[in-house]
């Protein structure tokens, strides 16, 4: 399987990515605007607080006669006949503003949560839909772990960016901007001095967070190597023990563990340098402001209250710089996440508007007419000019080597794959003119390696019909000869299947899958080598029971077994995508062809059994 290539996509412009990010917000973007407005209110109120200090020290306590720096609409209320009363009023105002601010902080967070969680919700659902609707090509070219990672951590990265990071940037910018604005009203020189080192911090932080990304990638790689080793050691514990390689395993793990630990520590060393040096620069900035502030205040250029206020504002500017740098540095991470998600979102659905919606009655006559097929990414034809005709109710065995195109042939019939040339008709309607869901509801295919959901056995069998009765489930389980196995489980039909439950054997899985397919009658049924792990006797029993139940259904069976082929109405022998032979068993063994050959190889085992004739 090839890795999905994201390199080319990540070269796309940042603007385009931002556009995509905005597009995915859908109609939720007004929430973001509301959040920004609330943020503005919160930040504005925050920048008022230091001014109270100035007012109390300069005006109420009388350390300066330069007047208040508070906005008039607040200052005018802080008037009383005694100093104590004025202090209490000022403190009361501070508290009122604090409550006001707290309310808006809460509201802002509430809106952001709605915004972010709805975006996450929609995106997750959309991705799920997309994956369900993606075609065979997409699935066969993707790795499960990779897709899951995209649907989980990449969604989180995106959600966090638009719902938290953007807001965070806005908050920091508003805080810095409003603080500068307030400062500039107090004293221009000091404001400029406050800004001398801030850009340096921003720059250092941006560069740092960009650089450590590589380090993170290395750590992740080392950790993955280590966990893969544990994973393989644990799942292969029989092999480890049987070859007595415990010491080797421990040594190997020690190396990987050490490598991961060291790379982790290397990053921490860089972190130590970054945090201590930026701390140093930040305090340098403080020191600058303090020194000039002291000089100005000593010379009476600014009041004492103003000096203290400046110290407070300085913090509003210095500390956000590192965070801003982090967000800027992290941005490319989000771009990558968005591009990786786009790959899924932009993938064309298997069902689209151009699909027909006709639903003709399906009886079971199947006709392949000069069908040719190749995979999009391959030059080799999988099927060439395949041409055959099957009457309703017939049983057809398809036989051939691995890679001869048997499975592909059957996948065409349910349009999991689409042929390029020729046509396939069911009851004289081209299958390309039949609505896909409808087609698949009528043409049942049981895959060789069927997938069972992690639900109970009963739910798995009844999955296609949520209202199904228990006796119906048992009935189909009996036809598929899996009923006896199931009742032998401790919890019978309520046994949980899969990762958290019982592990079924390959044969049991196949039979559950057959039962599941038998739940609803199908005019056409395909066994895509789906009896391979079932023993021959059970195989025969299932096929006979099925024939009794579903007399009218057309049945295709891909098989390796001569016994199965022998009972079919028609045998199709495929080789390299071509039909080599067709006919009944008796006809084909007379021809010196592939079927005859397979038959001979399979019977060679019996040449070794001189006692064979004793048996019958």
């Amino acid at each position: 399987m090839e890795k999905l290539d994201i390199k080319n996509q990540s070269k796309k412009g940042i603007l385009k990515t931002l556009g995509t990010m905005f597009k995915w917000m859908g109609n939720l973007w007004p929430l973001l605007i509301v959040a920004f407005i609330f943020l503005f209110i919160v930040s504005y109120v925050r920048t008022l607080l230091p001014l109270f200090g100035q007012h109390i020290i300069d005006v109420i306590l009388g350390f300066s006669d330069g007047g208040t720096k508070l906005p008039a609409y607040i200052a005018r209320y802080i008037v009383a006949d005694t100093l104590v009363k004025e202090l209490i009023i000022a403190a009361g105002m501070i508290l009122i503003l604090a409550i006001f601010r707290a309310i808006f902080i809460f509201l802002r967070r509430w809106i952001s949560a709605h915004f972010g969680e709805n975006i996450g919700y929609r995106l997750r659902n959309k991705l799920y839909r997309k994956i369900q609707n993606a075609d065979y090509y997409f699935h066969s070219h993707s790795e499960t772990g990779d897709l899951i990672q995209r649907c989980t951590s990449d969604v989180d990265a995106y959600r966090r960016f638009v719902a938290e990071r953007i807001v965070e940037v806005a908050r920091l910018l508003l805080l810095v901007g409003l603080s500068i604005w307030q400062m500039s009203k107090l004293n221009t020189d000091l404001t400029l001095i406050s800004l001398v080192l801030a850009p340096v911090i921003l720059l250092v932080a941006t560069v740092y967070f960009k650089k450590v990304k590589k380090e993170f990638a290395l750590i992740e790689q080392n950790e993955a190597n280590m966990t893969t080793h544990v994973q393989e050691n644990v799942s292969g514990s029989r092999v480890v023990k049987a070859f007595a390689n415990e010491l080797y395993e421990v040594k190997k793990f020690k190396n990987l563990n050490r490598k991961f630990t060291d790379s982790d520590y290397k990053l921490i060393k860089k972190m130590a340098f970054f945090w201590s040096s930026t701390d140093f620069i930040s305090f340098m900035q403080y020191c600058l402001i303090a020194v000039f502030g002291i000089i100005y205040a000593s010379r009476g250029v600014i009041s004492l209250g103003t000096y203290i206020t400046f110290l407070a504002y300085a913090g509003n500017i210095i500390w956000p710089m590192r965070q801003l740098g982090r967000v800027v540095g992290d941005f490319s991470k989000t771009t990558v996440a968005v591009n990786r998600l786009e790959h899924i979102i932009d993938n064309k659905d298997e069902y689209d508007d151009s699909e027909p919606n006709s639903k003709p009655k399906i009886l079971g006559h199947v006709k392949f007419k000069n069908v040719t097929f190749k995979f999009d990414d391959s030059n080799k034809h999988q099927l060439v000019n395949v041409d055959f005709n099957v009457e309703a109710g017939e049983t057809v065995a398809i036989i051939g080597k691995t890679g001869s195109g048997k499975s592909t042939l059957m996948k065409l019939l349910v349009r999991i794959l689409d042929y390029q040339e020729g046509d396939v008709f069911i009851d004289s309607t081209s299958i390309k003119d039949i609505e896909k869901h409808y087609l698949r509801s009528n043409v049942g295919i049981i895959l060789q390696e069927p997938f069972l959901f992690s639900k109970t056995v009963e739910e798995n069998i009844g999955i296609a019909d949520k209202e199904v009765q228990t006796d119906r489930v048992e009935n189909v389980a009996k036809i598929a000869k899996v009923h006896d196995d199931i009742v032998n489980f401790e919890k019978g039909y309520k046994t949980l299947v899969g990762e958290r439950g019982v592990t079924l054997s390959g044969g049991q899985k196949q039979r559950v899958a057959i039962a599941r397919m038998l739940l609803k009658p199908k005019p056409i049924l395909i066994f895509d080598d789906s009896l391979s792990a079932v023993d021959t006797e059970t195989d025969i029993q299932i096929r006979r029971a099925l024939k009794k139940e579903w007399k009218k259904s057309t049945v295709f069976i891909i098989t390796h077994r001569i016994t199965t082929a022998k009972e079919a109405d028609k045998i199709i022998v495929l080789e390299d995508g071509n039909i080599k032979e067709t006919g009944t068993h008796d006809e084909l063994i007379k021809i010196d062809g592939l079927y005859n050959n397979i038959w001979k190889i399979q019977s060679r085992i019996d040449f070794q059994l001189e006692d064979g004739e004793d048996n019958e």
Binding site: L95, T152, E232, G236, V250, I308, K401, N615, E616
Partner: protein, 616 residues
């Protein structure tokens, strides 16, 4: 089965279990010196945090205030200010740098030690442990739990030290300067602490729920992707989507709720602090007015109120993390303390060495006789599998075990490999109870080929060499040639350097089998256990495998859980098992003549070949 699996949720006790922590603390012992240094630098850092406002107070009271009434500014003390400031800046930067280094060392080394110990112990655990423990469970211990703990003991320790040191120093300094204002500030601290703990608990709980749903969503994606084709064939798209929507909807509701709690927490804390600020302004303003304290002191206390916020917040967070980490600690201790119920006795270890340190000089040459002496066996859970089982096998004999699923074939194999030990009776190898020799001795003389061969990531050569780690390339190639694997390996573009992928995923089943044969033949065991594959491969590969198996068995005592007719026919003795008993025994010819159970099994199971015989 399910009830016996370790469950993630079974470790969520609320009470602090000191016994568990003591066991974890053992891992901290070698890191004690780092911890001491980290604590020292943290206290230093907390001191600088308290000193900065004091320096500013000095500037206000001793530089700015004296100058305010005079005409010429006297800035002679400014140099003192600058010197002090820069001095503490350096102390601070150094402290930050050092504490990150030391905490980082603790974090990475502690995780390293925990993982090392856990992995080491995993190698000693018997196979029964792996039978009842999911791979994912073990993986989580090695990754997230070890990380949780190491972070708690490093950064948690840092936060704890800093938080307490800062608060204590603050309280002391405040009381020294003015006890009344100190009281005003300190009254609020318990309130803040209570609010923090209250909220943190809820936040933790909410996040736990979210993580749970999140893992369900990941599981749903996993099913949606791996089961995509099955979903299509059963037309389950809408069905699955609705189930998925339930999950994501739940996730949205809970995430918003969690955000609400967090959204309330921060403003509440902020309000409390502002309340402190307001109180300090009222009380402190009065004191300034009464000339009890200086204006610099007022500034100092305002700064100190703010400084209480972070330590309280972080200590509350630490408290919550500690509770969470308790579960991690319990799980890791449970892994490390799992007793190996199969292990060598001290006397055996004395003579033969441990699993990791063989005393090869004491290893006896093996002949290969195997004897089951009245062996009874039952798994921890479940029925009696074997009762008084007797079997005597001479060196070089090949034994085919046949019978239905559950007859006891795999159990016998597990006992020979000593993956499990008899509950009663003895297994003798060369006439000596195998418990009297070490596991290392047994496994160095034993080969084991699995039904579903497990390969490791790494190239083909490395995988073959796994059978004998000291083998040269030539020996590996010779082994591959011996089992007919050489030919297909050379067809790979990179030959023996071809990567097998995780678990051998890049190779076909047949290829994996042949490589696992090469691996086994390289180890040149005297006793070979072959758990034959049932999965179908095409007829030609089947033949190659057949030839390879015959070569593999030559000159070895072998036990075969047989599924292939020809393997059975070629074996020296066939044991027909039913419910843990040998019901028939003999060569193929003898058993067929008996017309008993084997005959019936043979005609049923291998009727394919029988039918072909009758055609002839």
């Amino acid at each position: 089965m399910n009830d016996h699996l370790h469950d993630e949720e079974s470790f969520t006790s609320q009470k602090i279990d000191w016994n568990v922590w003591k066991k974890i603390l053992v891992f901290m012992k070698p890191l004690k010196k780092y911890a001491i240094f980290a604590i020292i630098f943290m206290i230093l850092l907390a001191t600088t945090d308290v000193v900065y406002p004091l320096i500013s107070k000095f500037a206000i009271d001793d530089i700015i205030r004296p100058n305010m009434n005079g005409a010429d500014a006297d800035l002679s003390k400014l140099a003192v200010f600058i010197a002090l400031y820069i001095g503490f800046m350096i102390i601070q930067a150094v402290s930050v740098f050092m504490f990150i280094l030391f905490a980082g060392k603790i974090q990475t080394e502690l995780a390293y030690n925990i993982r090392k110990e856990a992995f080491h112990h995993l190698q000693e655990l018997p196979f029964s442990y792996y039978d009842r423990t999911r791979v994912g469970w073990i993986m989580a211990r090695m990754t997230s739990d070890s990380r949780n703990l190491s972070e708690l003991f490093s950064w948690g320790l840092i936060d704890l030290t800093w938080g307490f040191a800062l608060m204590i120093i603050l309280v002391v300094v405040m009381f020294i300067i003015n006890w009344l204002l100190a009281l005003v500030v300190i009254v609020l601290v318990p309130v803040m602490a209570l609010v923090s703990i209250f909220f943190r608990k809820y936040i933790l709980k909410a996040h736990r729920q979210i993580r749970k749903i999140n893992s369900k969503i990941t599981g749903a994606y996993n099913e949606g992707i791996t089961g995509a084709m099955t979903t299509k064939t059963l037309v389950l798209e809408d069905n699955n989507y609705n189930d998925f929507d339930d999950l994501t909807g739940d996730m949205r509701v809970r995430s918003i709720r969690a955000a609400m709690i967090q959204g309330l927490y921060f403003p509440t804390m902020l309000f409390l602090i502002t309340l402190g600020v307001a109180l300090v302004y009222v009380v402190g303003g009065n004191l300034v007015f009464q000339l009890t304290i200086s204006v610099g002191t007022l500034y100092l206390f305002i700064s100190y109120v703010w400084q209480f916020f972070e330590p309280v917040n972080e200590l509350a967070m630490l408290y919550a993390n500690f509770q969470q980490a308790q579960a991690s600690a319990e799980r890791i201790v449970s892994l490390i303390e799992t007793e190996a119920d199969i292990s060598d006795s001290p006397e055996v270890i004395e003579k033969y060495g441990t699993l990791f340190d063989y005393k090869l000089e004491n290893f006896e040459e093996i002949i290969g006789d195997v004897k089951f002496d009245n062996v009874s066996f039952k798994y921890n859970i479940g029925e009696q599998v074997l009762t008084d089982f007797k079997l005597d096998v001479r060196a070089g004999q090949s034994i085919a075990l046949v019978g239905h699923t559950g007859a006891g074939k795999t159990t016998i194999v597990n006992l020979i490999c000593r993956f499990y030990e008899p509950t009663n009776g003895k297994i003798l190898i060369d006439g000596k109870d195998y418990k009297n020799r070490s596991m290392g001795w047994l496994h160095s003389n034993l080969g084991y080929v699995l039904q579903d061969p497990h390969l490791f990531s790494g190239n083909v050569m490395e995988n073959i060499r796994y059978g004998k780690l000291t083998a040269t390339d030539d020996e590996c190639v010779a082994a591959a040639k011996a089992v007919e694997a050489h030919e297909f390996i050379m067809k790979f573009e990179k030959g023996y350097d071809t990567e097998c992928g995780e678990g051998g995923s890049r190779l076909s089943v047949g290829q994996k089998q042949l490589i696992s044969f090469a691996r086994a033949i390289l180890s040149d065991p005297k006793i070979l256990v072959l758990d034959e594959a049932t999965s179908s491969v095409d007829t030609e590969t089947e033949q190659v495998i057949q030839v390879a198996i015959n070569k593999l068995l030559e000159g070895r005592t072998s036990f075969i859980v047989a599924h292939r007719l020809s393997t059975i026919v070629h074996s020296d003795r066939i044991l027909v098992l039913d419910k843990g008993k040998v019901i028939e025994e003999g060569t193929h010819r003898e058993l067929i003549k008996k017309s008993g159970a084997y005959h019936k099994l043979y005609t049923n199971q291998y009727s394919e070949e029988m039918l072909e015989l009758s055609i002839r």
